[in-house]
Symmetry: C2
Subunit: 303 residues, 2 copies
């Protein structure tokens, strides 16, 4: 495994070692956990070369956000990548990625201002810009993202389509702790009580799933039930809970087909996000008892 900090050097090394080999790419901000692991393993499985980038991207953090204290356990991350069989780790300094007079940004209108974008202005502009840069640097065949960051994956899918980026996106299922909490680098901000409380997020998503499978259609009522469940936890402060269309991220009034149930909730200093996707089976002539499948995960191949 080679650790490379310089854009030009990575480019020339990739040129030398690629020669027709397929290249998988997993962009990360480090602090790797089993969620990242699943992305990296998938890339190694499906490609002859795998590049992992570790870069805490400043342009996706707001001025009052956790850029400075974001965890950076670099040694552990590199061991983690080496063990898995990553070929190249791209580890640029801030100055290598952003020149002093950097002025170019990629914006995805509409999608970027909803959900997390409403709470974190400029966040997805920063994400879209750094992903565009990384795709230009690495030029992978396949890009791996996690469904935990559903809005991010949907926005990047839109970007790839709109800018004709020559890459295929694969979204991998959210990896969860035993109690259902989605793995996140930010979980380390939780104290013991908050960590325990945070399991309510997945419970509330499963509650929504159950209600919908049992025929509930009024999204306001479903969200109300989720809120009530989450508010039982003292340390929880809800940012948003929404049931939206996967493609437009617009709220649905009634459950009439596929839907993405998304939420962001604060526990102490940690703002956690999670989601599940409910995929409605097309109705056939005969009634089907459970019209839902693949609950929890979505594919963006079609959108």
């Amino acid at each position: 495994m080679q650790v490379i900090r310089n854009v030009q050097k990575l480019r020339s090394l990739l040129k030398l070692s690629q020669k027709g080999k397929t290249l998988g790419f997993v962009p990360t901000m480090g602090a790797l956990h089993a969620g990242h692991l699943s992305l990296i393993q998938q890339s190694i499985k499906e490609n002859q070369l795998t590049v992992v980038s570790i870069f805490v991207n400043p342009t996706q953090f707001g001025p009052s956000e956790d850029l400075k204290k974001y965890p950076r356990p670099l040694k552990r991350d590199l061991q983690f990548c080496r063990k898995l069989g990553v070929d190249f780790v791209f580890l640029p300094a801030r100055e290598e990625m952003y020149l002093k007079d950097h002025a170019t940004f990629v914006e995805i209108e509409g999608l970027s201002n909803l959900l997390c974008g409403a709470s974190r202005p400029g966040h997805f502009r920063g994400v879209a810009t750094v992903v565009t840069k990384l795709l230009n640097i690495v030029q992978p065949d396949l890009l791996y993202l996690g469904q935990k960051d559903a809005q991010q994956a949907i926005i990047i899918a839109r970007l790839i389509k709109d800018l004709n980026s020559p890459v295929r996106l694969k979204v991998m299922p959210t990896v969860r702790a035993a109690d259902g909490l989605a793995l996140s680098s930010r979980n380390i901000y939780l104290n013991q009580a908050e960590r325990k409380d945070a399991a309510v997020l997945f419970q509330s998503l499963r509650l929504a799933e159950l209600l919908i499978k049992n025929g509930a259609q009024d999204t306001a009522r479903i969200i109300d039930r989720m809120q009530k469940l989450i508010r039982q936890k003292k340390s929880a402060r809800i940012d948003y809970i929404k049931i939206v269309d996967l493609r437009t991220l617009q709220p649905m009034q009634r459950i009439t087909g596929d839907c993405l149930i998304v939420l962001a909730v604060w526990f102490g200093k940690a703002r956690l996000i999670d989601n599940i996707f409910l995929h409605a089976l097309k109705k056939t002539k005969g009634r089907i008892k459970d019209p839902w499948q693949n609950s929890n995960t979505f594919s963006l191949e079609g959108i």
Copy 2:
């Protein structure tokens, strides 16, 4: 020469025919003239394959601008390309380039709002977006732009740097008619009298050059002399005349080194732009009589 209207088809054809060959790319809006010719010839000279795109990009036109009446002499353009030895002409329809739900735009802050960007809000956002798309589709080694559109070239140079686009930009000198008028697809909008008057643009740029070579340093006075000259022509309506720094496009108060003299002037329904670049020789110990060289053309390799 192959004429291709479909993104996927162009991609697979380029993949088949490239195989290590260098690829030059000349993006155009058609209505080709000797300025485009110089770009295409340069690309053919320097590359084993040359792609020319012809696409009147709607996102770079304002609502009251000339998108509809922009000249589209397609047959002539294709003959022109065939004669020169172009390998592929990419000729996408609007729907091939912009999906109905297109939402992604590339913005270059600062540079995009100055000069032509001040008169044409959103223009450079459209240019940056379509160039990003075309670069992703064609994936050329070299990109050729004309210096006549100096601000465009400077913005694209910034974009390539900021987004790590794997392409080298070459800016070719402005091609002029016998009376000095810069060739432009929009010159056909001029009636006979306006066409005659429009020669004053280059005369005013040469006047500025002469004044500066003779020691003039106060840009306000130089611009004033240019204005007076241009205003002698009845059909001329000045949009702007500026003397700016090549890198930042910010106005210079005094001529202290390299400078770009840029202008936009209406003649009837045609808004024409032109510029020259004055390159200051570094002062050596001995005095040099003429401290300027390469007047008229600039290189963006260094910025």
